[in-house]
Symmetry: C2
Subunit: 305 residues, 2 copies
């Protein structure tokens, strides 16, 4: 089982309008409400691929109840911890004429010391039964930067950390097996503009491997087994939201199975592209995945060093 | 007790941003979630003025639960009927730099025949105990245009109808004591551009009185006791959302008390202005109300005919 942790789970509301016209009233259809947050999105991809997954994190209030109900409907198992403060909501307006997304993101509930203590106990019992743990997304207000480090260090289960800023840097102390920043997060966390140098900086501070998603340029992986660049075999058009989460899902599957890095990375690139091609943000197009996976070339980039 | 009926109650989510920039991500603070829908807003104003009020209508699902919880927190009594389909959500983005509001409104739940039958029974027992009934807002999908007419005709309790289009015209058959269209609704329902002529058209088809809100021009009232124009004594700046609902609240209080029309209309104009000046959409600024009420001039407009 792959456990995904979403400390700042969200109820994602998506509205489609022909075009967003500030200052006007838009009639919108309901139905675009889904459980979200990076870890939840990773679990959705794992579930779509038939992998055993379990979602945990915080989900309080009416929004938390709606998050759990939607996961239940989708058939995704969850062990979210109920807290008093309601889970955050995100609202995204997608303009169907040009595909442009406009987002409104709440910061999330304030987590108390009691909530956290209760969560750590739940997490410990779940993580010890997991093959891999994925910790993803921002921390809700009230949690210290080292919250992810505390969770990663609580068990020997291999961990993938996908977060940004200080929680990413603080998390390195607990030796996550893999961290997966995107280009902006990599530069912001390290203060280094050169991706290979920034990735090495993260490894020197405790990351087992760094897989950086560089958008259309594909992945850069700096690992103990080698350094690779993995471009996407063809340009894919669609919604890039969720591509990073699909990448993490592939990395988690590869880590759980012990797949060699080049194969793992090829899968991650193909699955990211499948997320871009997916009909809804967070969905993967399995045809795109199966078509691209055998065509991805993994390029040895050791010389870049 | 004044009963307010909101067949299409909503969970209103309001986010404040400095300026709405399409295609970008906005960090927003939560906390702007309130029960909404015109009848709910009328009840909120009545409650703020210390009047006994009761909210009914439909409120299903998680959104319905959140609507009831918010009313409970606000101290507003409710007898909303729970249904399977979740209540609609509205999202409004207010740009704090220029006050411009951008709204995204869902159509509402599909009401079944069983839901409607159950509601009519509840309504009957509540309306017979009410001094005045206010029926306000759009009809949710699934209800026929004559839904309001059916409710108004079910009891002898005097009714105020604040809706638009075909539900407004169909409602006239049941002889509401007052209808309160705005300028656009008045013209759209009647096909007549001249407000006094359009108001007379509505009276001829069954409305006891027509009070049309003409925005900054104030009110036009065509009643069996006379015709009046009631301008606002001074320009008021703020958010016009909710001004119509405050107007209806004043008309309901006046109808329940049997206040003469001129006094009732002066109160309605002052309370509408107080809603424009209110800190949040739907709130009334009681200082503005008390300051303006004695200064409103009610102009005999019988000659307009």
């Amino acid at each position: 089982m792959i456990l995904t942790v979403t400390l700042n789970a969200a109820l994602d509301v998506t509205y489609r309008v022909p075009t967003l016209a500030p200052g006007t009233e838009h009639r919108v259809e309901p139905g675009g409400t889904r459980a979200g947050g990076k870890g939840v999105n990773v679990a959705r991809v794992l579930h779509a691929l038939g992998h055993d997954t379990l979602v945990t994190g915080f989900a309080g209030g009416d929004t938390g109840r709606a998050i759990r109900a939607e996961l239940d409907t989708a058939g995704i198992r969850e062990a979210l911890v109920d807290v008093d403060a309601p889970a955050r909501r995100t609202v995204t307006i997608v303009s169907t004429e040009d595909g442009v997304a406009t987002a409104f993101n709440e910061p999330g509930p304030r987590v108390s010391v009691e909530d956290w203590t209760r969560f750590v106990a739940t997490y410990h019992s779940l993580a010890t039964r997991a093959a891999v743990v994925v910790l993803a997304g921002s921390l809700p207000p009230g949690l210290p930067d080292h919250a992810y480090a505390q969770l990663i260090g609580a068990t020997a289960t291999p961990a993938i950390l996908d977060t940004a800023g200080r929680p990413l840097v603080a998390g390195l102390a607990a030796h996550p097996r893999v961290v997966k920043p995107n280009a902006g997060e990599l530069a912001a966390a390290t203060g280094i503009d050169d991706p290979p140098a920034a990735a090495r900086w993260l490894r020197e501070r405790g990351a087992g491997a760094v897989v950086a998603s560089l958008g259309p340029a594909g992945l850069l992986a700096v690992t103990g087994d080698g350094t690779w660049r993995v471009p996407c075999p063809e340009p894919v058009h669609g919604n890039p939201t969720g591509a990073g989460d699909a990448c993490v899902a592939a990395l988690a599957i590869g880590l759980a199975a012990g797949t060699p890095w080049p194969e793992r990375l090829a899968d991650a690139v193909a699955l990211s592209a499948a997320a871009v091609a997916g009909p809804l943000a967070g969905d993967v197009d399995l045809d795109t995945y199966r078509r691209l996976a055998p065509r991805v070339e993994v390029l040895d980039a050791h010389a870049d060093r």
